[in-house]
Structures are given as structure tokens and as C-alpha cells.
């Protein structure tokens, strides 16, 4: 029956390649799919072993996906305005069904993602997987680390409680210590001289639109480069 469905004109208009009955067709099914084309057509079985990667990159991606889903749901009950943001955060905890669960899922996934991204980078570093021809993907990875940290930092302000306010006050003052540009950069980031309504709105836009978009773009390049650089670094060449 599945074969029949796959031979219908509708199916073939969506998935152009035929059935996976030859290596060419199997390869085309991956390459002709916008989602799958980032992945390698062929993967060495060694690359799938736990010991090679500890699956740290995949786990980071998993955290990111959890954060996107829970973040979108949290946005449905959150207004980025003063003092409504704090009240909305409290409503999410005590009024909205499953609000506490989603908020904590978002928070713990964020912590886990920072941890996993660092662990991923250490693993890549100590296995020497950053070396040629993968050196550019290391650079993309550093960009992704930056995006992860900025996402954490901008999300920190959104509950609009005392911790958030002083954390961003301290953080933005650290930023202003940059020689020459620091004070101006702080002014632009906060949209003013103090952490106020403008800062909350800017951090919200950064956190919910600009940084996730940047993360998606860098992630796409990151995964595509894995394929282009010859798959995951398994260390097979040096060991055998």
C-alpha cells in the first residue's frame, strides 16, 4: 500500500526521487529534500557511536528546539512592558495552566544548552575535530556560542524582577568598560541610560526575533558544513 501511495502523482510532485531501491535514488531522496539536504547522504557507522561525540551537538540542538517551542508558548502570555512583564511572569507561574512547567522547562533547557554547548566545544577541541578541513566550522561554532550566550543574557531581563534588573544593570556596565565604544554601545543596547522600558523591549526583540533567527542561520551553515567537510571527525585516520 505504501508503494502505491508513493507512486501517486501527488507524492511524486512533492518527493521527486523514486523509491530507495538504488544508491542513486537513496542519495537523491536526501539531497532533494530541503530539510534533509543539510545531512550527509552517507554516514560512517563509526560517527554514530556514542564515544565519538557523546551526542553533545545533537543534545544542544535538542535543547534549542525545546527552547523554541516553550519560548513561543510563553510569548502567548507575556507583554514586554513595564510593569506588566513581571505580572505576566507571575501569572505564568500561578494562574496559567502548565505555565510553571513551561517556564521551568524553558529555564532549565537554557541552562542545559549553555552547559552542553561548552561541553560540545571541549569535546571537539580535545578530539582535534577543529583541525583542517573543519576549521571554518569551528568559527561558525564560536558564533553559535556567542548567540547562545546572548540569548541567555537577553532572556535574563525578561522576568523584570530584581534579579533581572540588577543583572542587566551590572552586565551593561561591564559592557561600557570597553575603551572608546563601550558607553555608546551600552546606550544603544539599552535604548537609554538606565535599564528601563526601552531596554526591556529591545531585549525582548533580540531574544525572540533577532538572536533566534541568527541561531537558525548559523545552525544551518554549521550542519551543512559537517557534510561538506566530509562528515563528523571520527579520528579513524589517525588510529588506523
Amino acid at each position: 500500500m505504501i508503494t502505491d501511495i508513493r507512486d501517486t502523482p501527488v507524492w511524486r510532485s512533492i518527493f521527486r526521487s523514486g523509491q530507495g531501491d538504488s544508491n542513486l535514488n537513496r542519495a537523491q531522496r536526501v539531497q532533494q529534500n530541503v530539510f534533509l539536504h543539510l545531512a550527509s547522504v552517507k554516514v560512517r557507522s563509526k560517527a554514530l557511536e556514542f564515544g565519538v561525540t557523546w551526542y553533545l551537538g545533537t543534545l544542544s540542538l535538542g535543547c534549542f528546539m525545546v527552547l523554541v517551542v516553550t519560548g513561543i508558548l510563553l510569548m502567548l502570555y507575556y507583554h514586554p512592558s513595564v510593569p506588566q512583564a513581571y505580572l505576566d511572569m507571575k501569572d505564568l507561574q500561578f494562574v496559567v495552566s502548565a505555565g510553571m512547567f513551561l517556564r521551568n522547562l524553558h529555564r532549565w533547557s537554557a541552562h542545559a544548552m549553555v552547559l552542553l554547548v561548552f561541553a560540545h566545544m571541549f569535546k571537539v577541541f580535545y578530539r582535534g575535530a577543529y583541525r583542517s578541513p573543519r576549521e571554518f566550522n569551528w568559527v561558525i561554532g564560536v558564533m553559535l556560542l556567542m548567540v547562545t550566550l546572548f540569548l541567555s543574557y537577553t532572556g535574563y531581563l525578561l522576568p523584570w524582577d530584581q534579579l533581572a534588573f540588577w543583572a542587566i544593570t551590572v552586565g551593561s556596565n561591564i559592557m561600557s568598560a570597553v575603551p572608546g565604544l563601550g558607553a555608546k554601545a551600552r546606550f544603544l543596547m539599552l535604548g537609554g541610560n538606565t535599564v528601563n522600558a526601552n531596554a526591556l523591549l529591545r531585549f525582548y526583540v533580540l531574544h525572540c526575533v533577532i538572536l533566534p533567527l541568527a541561531a537558525f542561520i548559523f545552525l544551518a551553515v554549521h550542519f551543512w558544513r559537517i557534510r561538506k567537510d566530509g562528515g563528523l571527525h571520527t579520528g579513524e585516520k589517525t588510529h588506523e
Binding site: 508558548l73 502567548l76 494562574v95 496559567v96 495552566s97
Partner: protein, 156 residues
């Protein structure tokens, strides 16, 4: 070899069955979870009950619009009544035309008598009468969430 193949097939089938069942349970749970999350438990909307103040604010044979609440307070010989100012066509806010003595909707041209009955236009129903009463402090109260099935005046 053949036996090994057989066993692999059967375990794969069991894996697919268990997996699909687990995905089904997760999808069902997510649907319930999602529905509950999306239904707000607290609404920050204005109360449907409007305090219209002392009834002697409304002189005899007058129609007083309250644009903020979307109602008219009408004082006739028989007593006071409250009329919804929300057009029954597509929900626009109607306007009282004192020079013509009618209620007119600016969106699609429905016109009504001050008792809510339609004169012309696309509105399918008359403007509903709203539940009105005098509370213990002598203030006129109107409940916008309750329409009256038949005309009912508040006597003062």
C-alpha cells in the same frame, strides 16, 4: 540466517508498534496540555456590569449614549431601560442621532428605533435590551452580558 532475519523482522515490528503507540499517547497528551495552556484561566477584561450612576441623571424622553461601555440608557414614560449599542450585523458601535431620533450604524448603514427595533439595513436582529436594576445604594446597574427576552422597564 533465515531465522535471524525472521527475528529481526518481528522485533522491528514490535518496535514500530510500541513507538507509534508512544507517539500517539504523547500527541494526545500534548493536545490536552496545549488546550489547557491556551485557555486563559484569568481574563483582564472590563466587567460586564456597568454602574450608570443615579437614575435621575437621565431626564424623561432622553437617550444617553455611553460610548465607553457600548450602551444607551433610555428614559421613557414607562421607565428606564438599557440598550446595547453594538450593532447586531457585525459588531460595530452604533451612534445616536438626536436630530433624527434614530440609532444609526456607521459601518453598513443599519438604522434602529430607540427601542432597538430595526428600521432598515443589514442587521438581522433588533438591538437587544440589557438587564438593568437599581442596586441597594440607588444606583442604576446594567449587565451587558445578559439580554432580556422581552421589554422590561426600571421604574423610578
Amino acid at each position: 540466517m533465515a531465522e535471524e532475519k525472521q527475528c529481526e523482522e518481528c522485533s522491528r515490528r514490535r518496535f514500530a508498534k510500541t513507538g507509534l503507540a508512544a507517539i500517539g499517547v504523547a500527541a494526545g497528551g500534548s493536545a490536552v496540555f496545549g488546550y489547557q495552556f491556551l485557555s486563559p484561566n484569568a481574563l483582564y477584561e472590563p466587567s460586564p456590569v456597568v454602574d450608570a450612576g443615579k437614575p435621575d441623571r437621565y431626564p424623561l424622553d432622553s437617550v444617553t449614549p455611553d460610548v465607553a461601555s457600548g450602551i444607551y440608557i433610555v428614559h421613557k414614560q414607562e421607565g428606564i431601560y438599557a440598550l446595547s449599542a453594538v450593532c447586531t450585523h457585525l459588531g460595530c458601535l452604533t451612534a445616536w442621532k438626536p436630530e433624527l431620533g434614530i440609532i444609526a450604524c456607521p459601518c453598513h448603514g443599519s438604522k434602529f428605533h430607540p427601542d432597538g427595533v430595526k428600521i432598515e439595513g443589514p442587521a438581522p436582529k433588533p438591538l437587544p435590551w440589557l438587564k438593568a436594576w437599581i442596586d441597594d445604594d440607588g444606583n442604576l446597574q446594567i449587565d451587558r452580558s445578559e439580554t432580556l427576552p422581552q421589554k422590561q422597564f426600571v421604574r423610578i
